[in-house]
């Protein structure tokens, strides 16, 4: 299992569209993917789960990847977070 810390960087936070791009990306990989925030953990491949986080700009998320392609998955997912989902950061 791989664990990573990420921060929400785009201004609008993890709203519907970024949530959709996140789960779409996650669905391409075989590994299981969980996101933890405020002590609760949800499945990162579930759009409803990701939207439940209601993560605003600046909030920190703990990611867990587990499975054969966990390395590539972690790299791709962390990159998506680092780019602020391609949205404005300020």
């Amino acid at each position: 299992m791989i664990e990573r810390e990420v921060t929400i960087r785009n201004r609008a936070g993890l709203h519907t569209r970024p949530a959709a791009s996140l789960v779409k990306l996650a669905a391409k990989f075989k590994a299981e993917f969980f996101i933890e925030k405020d002590g609760f953990e949800i499945n990162g491949k579930s759009i409803i789960g990701v939207m439940t986080l209601a993560a605003e700009q600046g909030s920190k998320l703990h990611l867990k990847f587990s499975g054969e392609d966990e390395e590539e998955m972690a790299r791709a997912v962390v990159a998506l977070f680092d780019q602020g989902f391609g949205e404005p950061m300020q």
Binding site: E36, F40, E41, I42, T52
Partner: protein, 337 residues
Amino acid sequence: MSMALENLKETRKQSITVGFLYERNRERLRMRCLNGETGFEKEIRDKNIHRPGLALAGYTELFTYDRVQVFGNTEIRYLQHLSLEERIRAFDRIFQFDVPCIIITNDNQIDDELIRIATERQVAILITPFETTKLVYFVGDFLDDQFSPQTVIHGSFIDVYGIGVVLVGRSGIGKSEVALDLVERGHRLVADDVVMITRKGEGILIGAGTDVVKHFMEIRGLGLIDIRSIFGIRSIRFQKRVEVVVELQEWSRDMEYTRTGLDHDNIAILGVEIPHVKLPIFPGKNITVIVEVIALDYLLKHYGYDAAKEFSKRLDAAIAEKSKGKRSVDYFEHDFE
């Protein structure tokens, strides 16, 4: 077993603020605050409630000051029989300790002087018309719930014939589709994808959705749908006891599935053991109906009938009588249909 049920992350609130306690109970307990919003940011860390009669009277050893302090008729009557000076002294004695808040029951009156002391010490004084036993019951239940262990399960949670069934399985296996099918057949959705489970008391699990998601559901290829808007109020519930976990799995030759149902497989969620049914799926199999039958079978067992055991008993009897393979009806009574 899917990762969805392994190492569930258990959380438990460490504290709530007095303001939160007040906001959540203001209406149903008709509570008011006697000193503005003083001390609303103070934290409550204990789910128990204390009546500080002895502390008021001067015995402060083992005073559980960090609990919500309830002033019932006894405390108020005791204070009233003192002179104002003694009252102030008794009150001061309690405030040597860091009490989170005070709740006065039966709408009992206290001196403005005492309210002033509480305000100085930044302690909220709440008042309710409820009698002490009722207030202790409601606030106790509220605090118990707030400090209960919780976890989140990735699955669909449906009330099937009154039985709380959680469907789990890997992402994309079709949990939501089965849940939708069940709703279509008249069963009620509690939550989809994110099920928050709370342990109530000992041995009871209660599941609910989250406030953001409510009764939304994702159907692959269709997107998000709102079950409540489509199917109406009869198709949803807000909370339900969790009674059975059904795990959907791709059928695999290497996996062993129960064939008789004599050995029950349990799973522990927040330390509570509940039945766990592993259901292999393959084309042509009607999972919805099987889930209905799982619920009904659970009901039968609950009322004392275990089909697998009954069958096994009959077989034992037949072996003892050496009456193998006989037809169940001896004579067809002129029935030629």
